[in-house]
């Protein structure tokens, strides 16, 4: 047999016996994320908070200090400037203005006349209070509904125990992504919600593959103790799990390093999601099945129609 085997064919790592360790780690991760979120909050982008974002390019390396002084004197409240991607590019963030939708528009004009015509305006965005509220609730609704819809699908395709395991793993990934964004102070905006939903999809994808093997083995080995069976299932699919994670990470790293500053945070969220999603499928979703009282009988009843759908 040729080819690269990242994971040896006869691998037999012990995952299930270390479940306490994994559970402890995940509990700390989740609690840490929640505490971080409550204490530190999220660095919401203008999509959700409202406000103004302007990206400018100057001819020579930008003098951020002078620019900050210039814009700070306009009385627009909190003005944050940062270098964006390269020394000539500056990203300006201005807090949401009091006085409704019109005030945002006036502030944009003020900033533009203060900066003058010398700079290139690469991006100008503002979101008023009305739209940012709507976008926020749409985002919350989308993530909530996605988790629910996936739960329903898994429940329909497997047993409710599997559905529970999958959703715990999924929520774990979503919460810890929010935690890491809070910890690092990365901007949380619409793209991040898209990333979170994609992470949810990826994580569940990984979980389904392992669960599929668990189900197959439950039918095949009717006498095997459950811990051993689960451990075997993980090991049998480990090679695939690692391979797919590697190809996805390769593509995402290309995006992170070469895709431009605008989507760097988005790529970061997905890279984190792929890593944490892989971990949670193996170390969280499967060991959880031990406690969820997986019944072999239910699976055997469903066997006949499953066999039919598998036939070529």
């Amino acid at each position: 047999m040729r080819g690269l085997h990242l994971v040896p064919a006869n691998i037999d790592l012990s995952f299930i016996s270390k479940k306490t360790l994994f559970f402890a780690f995940s509990t700390i991760l989740i609690l840490g994320s929640i505490i971080m979120f409550l204490a530190n909050g999220l660095n919401y982008g203008i999509d959700f908070k409202g406000g103004i974002m302007i990206e400018v390019r100057t001819e020579k390396a930008a003098d951020i200090g002078a620019m900050r002084k210039n814009l700070g004197s306009l009385g627009l409240g909190e003005v944050a400037l940062q270098e964006f991607g390269q020394p000539t590019d500056v990203l300006i963030r201005i807090q949401r203005q009091d006085g409704g939708e019109k005030a945002q528009q006036e502030a944009v004009s003020k900033v533009k006349s203060a900066l003058g015509e010398k700079v290139e305006y690469r991006r100008t965005e503002f979101v008023g209070p009305k739209v940012s509220d709507e976008l926020f609730w749409d985002g919350v609704l989308a993530v909530g509904l996605a988790i629910f819809a996936i739960l329903v699908y898994i429940w329909f395709r497997f047993e409710w125990q599997f559905g529970m395991g999958a959703v715990v793993a999924l929520s774990h990934d979503v919460i810890s992504t929010i935690g890491i964004f809070s910890l690092l102070g990365l901007e949380f905006n619409l793209s991040t919600v898209a990333a979170v939903l994609t992470i949810a999809g990826y994580s569940i994808n990984d979980t389904v593959v392992v669960f599929d093997r668990v189900r197959e083995n439950l039918r095949k080995y009717k006498k095997m103790p459950l811990p051993e069976l689960l451990n075997n299932s993980i090991n049998q699919t480990l090679s695939r799990t690692v391979m797919t994670s590697v190809t996805t990470l390769l593509a995402l790293c290309a995006l992170y390093f070469l895709g431009g500053a605008v989507i760097r945070d988005f790529s970061f969220a997905m890279i984190w999601g792929v890593i944490i999603g892989t971990y949670s499928s193996i170390c969280l979703a499967v060991p959880l099945l031990l406690y969820l009282n997986v019944s072999r009988r239910g699976l055997m009843v469903g066997e006949t129609d499953d066999a039919a759908s598998q036939a070529p």
Partner: protein
């Protein structure tokens, strides 16, 4: 699994060839692609505003202002009718958001008043409570009115945008009171925002000469009102506030044309305008009766200028001068040509991307996808040898199929959409990884190549479908709840899942099976 029906082979090959053909225009320059004959595939992927540069504006129409205005004029009519009928009344005014209230002082005349007021407008309901009469607009009338105001606003916005020479703008009504404006390639969004921010209601009214001797902080006498000057902050030598008679001589609705120009005497930028016949007549009569008195040209409640009428203006043409810059004269004449908005507009959201950033994003996206692709392709060959090569071929065709699908559906490709494609490159091989790992297992279990491949594809299929449906669910919800660029991401993700299912499951199987028949290997190089 090993046997392929002839029609299936033909269908798979046709889909691949179709994919290549429909993706092809994207590799030609835009002009060349557009000049291709109709029978050839000639559509290119349409780029989102974040890639080609342009402005996205979400506007809100203050439709309630229209209803308020209608109630104000209802109040005026009630006043006129009751005065004419010599009925004493009090407490006349708007009552709530959709009614007008008046109290009749002579109880014996309540019934008469009711009958008179009922006739004002068939779309109202008149209710009497003691001596109080309430005239309410019918719900249907309000709905019609709001609808009318919305369609008219969309129309005026379209006219104004067209006048600025923007190519291929999209102007759509959204929901009850919003308008979405998308302006690809716009260089100066500030100008368009300024143009859209003006209602542009123009009126010609007489100035009340008593104003010169009155203190502007005192309430205006009946029939007149105080109005500020447009440039009240800039020029202090001018009186910054005018007393204007409420009656309108002529309004902007009677304008048929307006053009920017220069004053023949001092060369200052001005706006020349022309009335229609009705407007010309009204303006002629009004100016003839008021020679040597000043009148005011008022735009959106502010006085532009207040010249003195030297002689009756009978020709129906005129000139507005008011310390304009050339740009201001251009903008004002454009606004007058396009017409007034029925209600003020507010910009709720703006997202403008300059052409520089858009081009940079495209370039970065291209490089990232290519490098990502090369990394994955190389990795697959290293990991699975010949089989990896076959999966790579499927992956490349997959990219063409995604491009073809986006071109045919005319879906918009955004920056997150490019990210979706890159992600798809990474995840598309997943199905093949699943299949190949399964084949490896079957080989280890001692099966012959043919039987290993057969059960490898068969057993992996349910897993592949389960795994992809869940990602499709996420993509679908993203599409429903997402906006703009995020929708682009959802579209490429969903399209990528569907095409990768086809290439990974159908196409690689055909390739593997063909290879198997040709070489009849004793051992699989996997």
């Amino acid at each position: 699994m090993i046997y392929f029906a002839k029609w299936k082979i033909v269908a798979i090959l046709l889909i691949c060839i179709g994919g290549l053909a429909f993706a092809a225009p994207n590799f030609l320059p835009k002009e060349t692609a557009e000049s291709l004959p109709d029978w050839m595939p000639h559509k290119q992927v349409s780029l989102g505003l974040d890639l080609q540069g342009g402005s996205h504006l979400l506007l809100e129409v203050e439709v309630d202002a229209v209803i308020k205005e209608q109630l104000e004029s209802l109040v005026d009519e009630v006043r006129v009718i009751l005065r004419k009928a010599k009925i004493r009344y009090g407490g006349l005014g708007r009552d709530g958001a959709k009614g007008v209230k008046v109290t009749i002082r002579q109880p014996e005349k309540v019934e008469e008043a009711r009958n008179l007021l009922r006739r004002i407008d068939p779309q109202t309901n008149t209710v009497v409570d003691g001596t109080a009469v309430r005239i309410e607009l019918l719900e249907r009338a309000i709905a019609d009115r709001r609808n009318g105001a919305m369609s008219q606003s969309v129309e005026i916005v379209r006219r104004r945008v067209d006048q600025t020479g923007t190519r291929e703008p999209t102007i759509q009504r959204q929901g009850d009171d919003r308008i979405l404006v998308q302006l690809p390639g716009v260089k100066d969004p500030e100008r368009i925002k300024r143009l859209l921010g003006k209602t542009a209601k123009m009126t010609f009214q007489l100035t009340d000469v008593r104003g010169a001797n009155m203190d502007p902080s005192r309430p205006a006498p009946a029939g007149s009102k105080w109005l500020p000057s447009v440039d009240s902050t800039a020029d202090t030598s001018q009186p910054t506030i005018y007393l204007i008679k409420k009656r309108v001589m002529v309004s902007g609705e009677d304008l048929v044309d307006s053009q920017p120009g220069f004053d023949s005497r001092d060369g200052q930028p001005v706006v020349n305008f022309r009335f229609n016949t009705r407007g010309a007549k009204k303006f002629g009569v009004a100016t003839a009766a008021n020679v040597n008195r000043p009148f005011a040209i008022i735009l959106d409640g502010k006085v532009i200028s207040a010249p003195v009428i030297r002689e009756p203006i009978l020709g129906g043409t005129g000139q507005i001068s008011g310390n304009f810059t050339v740009q201001e004269a251009n903008d004002l004449s454009l606004l007058l040509r396009a017409g007034a908005l029925p209600a003020p507009l507010t910009i709720l959201e703006e997202r403008s991307v300059g052409p520089g950033l858009g081009a940079d994003s495209i370039a970065a996206g291209k490089i990232a996808s290519m490098i990502g692709m090369i990394l994955v392709v190389v990795f697959m060959v290293v990991a699975y040898g010949k089989f990896g090569g076959m999966a790579d071929l499927a992956l490349i065709i997959n990219i063409f199929l995604i491009l073809a699908a986006l071109s045919v559906l005319q879906a918009t490709l955004t920056l997150p959409g490019i990210a979706g494609i890159v992600l798809t490159i990474g995840m598309a091989v997943d199905a093949n990884v699943l299949i190949f790992e399964r084949i490896r297992e079957e080989v280890r279990a001692g099966r012959t190549p043919i039987s290993a491949i057969d059960s490898g594809y068969g057993r992996a299929l349910t897993t592949i479908i389960d795994a992809n449906v869940t990602t499709l669910i996420a993509a679908l919800l993203l599409y429903i709840f997402g906006s703009g660029p995020i929708r682009g991401f959802a579209v490429t993700l969903a399209v990528g899942i569907v095409t990768s299912l086809f290439t990974a499951v159908m196409l690689t199987r055909l390739i593997v099976v063909t290879w198997l028949r040709r070489t009849q290997p004793k051992e699989l190089p996997i």
